[in-house]
């Protein structure tokens, strides 16, 4: 099953006004490994034309990327106001 299809099973209350995770593009620009693209289970980090693209909307708040990025690019905060992923089972 493709990851996109698995993610489409999830419910989110998306926070349009606050991105709880951000990356610093200048750091990603020179990143030697892009390990975030392999580590993130929700495929929020992808390479488009060799450039890192990050979208917080699909994030399941697992916490992986802040450890995975060894270059200090990821700023990770908790989602607020019950926004973000809402599991049925967990």
């Amino acid at each position: 099953m493709k990851i996109e299809d698995r993610l489409s099973l999830l419910n989110y209350k998306i926070d349009k006004s606050y991105a709880h995770i951000t990356v610093k593009p200048d750091i990603c620009e020179t990143c030697p490994d892009h390990f975030c693209t392999f580590a993130c289970p929700a495929k929020c980090y992808t390479l488009i034309d060799a450039k890192l693209n990050f979208k917080y909307e699909d994030c399941v708040e697992c916490g992986t990327c802040v450890v995975a990025c060894a270059h200090g690019s990821v700023s990770w905060t908790n989602s607020k106001g019950a926004h973000g992923v809402k599991y049925k089972y967990g």
Partner: protein, 430 residues
């Protein structure tokens, strides 16, 4: 005067247990949970092992939303083509239940409701940003610029402890501290599950697997647990080894596990109903931060409490037991000399006297074994060769077992002296 005797951050097993125990001792408690409904952001495998919940809820086995009790425990080594399984089933598990499968959204909602019923002020959908300090003393929590005051704070915020890290009371997590947990819930009719796993009503299966077929040095363990009418299945991936590999996607590994020839038939016609992920604490003793200070304590996953030896993965019972220990420490401190770093140091003593820190000390360094190439890469292949040597009838003359083992070791590149040494280490540490 503080607004609350204690504030608990996080309404998972650690936080709700702490809050219930505090309220049972007539303290004025605030429990802050970021998800709404509570539990809707939490992920476990999950088997709730042991009887820790009885500390706050003596009748939990009758009242809590439990899926099935563990009647059958499996351990499997998977290679590309084969699986070598041990399945332990016992009627002893009917009398004394050792574990129950649970789904966290249901369990956590139940625990939060119980906390509310016990007199805890539960607020959900609210995220704590940081601890509030007066000098070096923690005086409450900060949320959206507001400070809510309390005599003590118990941080039970789970696997990614932002409040503790951002407040400067624990270091950020490193590769060695965590693994990536990725899970799916697969719907199947209750009867199909009973038939496939040889279970009767309420009986459950909990299996742990070494995924010896992963390429490129990736190391991961698999789990498969039966719920009433679904299967919880997932993988726990070593961050360190995934980084070294740097070409395998975490979300593909769970698919590889599902598609394994000995797992796929168990899931046939099942419908994937949910995908989820969460970090798992894996670092053992080396990952545990300072557990208390003036006005605060850290409990559960936020403190790195968990146990995994490849045969079992436990965190919820450690969370519950540590939450209760933290609550008792507050109760005693308030009845005695008051809250101070000194009085809260009793928390660590309590944990040392319980399985929480005892286990962490007993199994110090076990991660070197459970996340080692012997178990993940060599052993499954050797076992497969031995089994094929024993049971594959290929018309050739039969060999003695010791000859088969020798040849299997040889083709794996494992020297028997090394195997002996590693085996001895494993035996000692497990």
């Amino acid at each position: 005067m503080s607004e609350f005797d204690a504030i608990v951050v996080g309404g998972g097993p650690a936080g709700t247990s702490a809050a219930m125990r505090l309220a049972a001792n007539k303290l004025n408690v605030l429990l802050v949970e970021k998800a709404d409904p509570p539990g809707s952001k939490n992920v476990s495998g999950g088997v709730l092992w042991g009887n820790s919940l009885s500390g706050v809820m003596p009748d939990w086995e009758k009242t809590a939303p439990l899926e099935r009790y563990v009647k059958s425990k499996g351990i499997g080594f998977l290679t590309k083509d084969s699986s070598i399984d041990i399945n332990f089933r016992s009627t002893k598990f009917n009398e004394t239940k050792t574990g129950y499968t649970v789904l966290r959204t249901k369990l956590d909602q139940f625990l939060n409701k119980k906390a509310k019923d016990a007199g805890v002020t539960v607020v959900t959908g609210v995220t704590v940003d940081r601890l509030a300090f007066e000098g070096k003393k923690v005086v409450g929590v900060e949320q959206d610029g507001d400070i809510i005051t309390s005599d003590a704070v118990i941080l039970a915020e789970g696997a990614n402890p932002r409040v503790a890290i951002d407040s400067g009371i624990r270091p950020p997590l490193k590769d060695e501290d965590v693994a990536i947990g990725v899970k799916e819930v697969i719907k199947l009719p209750e009867k199909t599950i009973n038939d496939r796993f040889n279970l009767r009503e309420k009986e459950g299966f909990a299996g742990e697997y070494v995924l010896g077929f992963l390429d490129g040095g990736v190391e991961a363990g698999g789990f498969l647990y039966t719920n009433k009418d679904s299967i919880s299945l997932g993988v726990v991936i070593s961050m360190k080894h995934l980084r070294e590999n740097n070409k395998t996607y975490s979300y593909d590994i769970v698919e590889q596990f599902k598609n394994h020839p000995s797992i796929a038939p168990l899931l046939e016609d099942g419908k994937v109903d949910e995908y989820s992920a969460r970090m798992v604490q894996e670092g053992g003793l080396a990952s545990i931060p300072k557990l208390y200070g003036n006005g605060y304590m850290i409990a559960g996953d936020a403190a790195g409490f968990s146990f995994s030896n490849g045969l079992i993965l436990q965190g919820m019972n450690y969370a519950i037991a540590s939450g209760i220990a933290a609550a008792d420490t507050v109760v005693e401190a308030k009845a005695g000399s008051g809250i101070s770093e000194q009085s809260l140091s009793r928390y660590e003593e309590k944990l040392m006297n319980s399985f929480v820190l005892r286990d962490m000390h007993t199994f110090k360094g076990i991660g070197d074994i459970t996340w080692g190439s012997l178990i993940h890469q060599k052993m499954p292949g050797v076992l497969e060769k031995v089994m094929l040597g024993l049971f594959m009838e290929d018309g050739e003359p039969k060999k003695h077992v010791n000859q088969i083992v020798k040849e299997a070791l040889k083709s794996s590149g494992l020297k028997s002296s090394k195997l002996l040494l590693e085996g001895y280490r494993m035996y000692k540490r497990m």
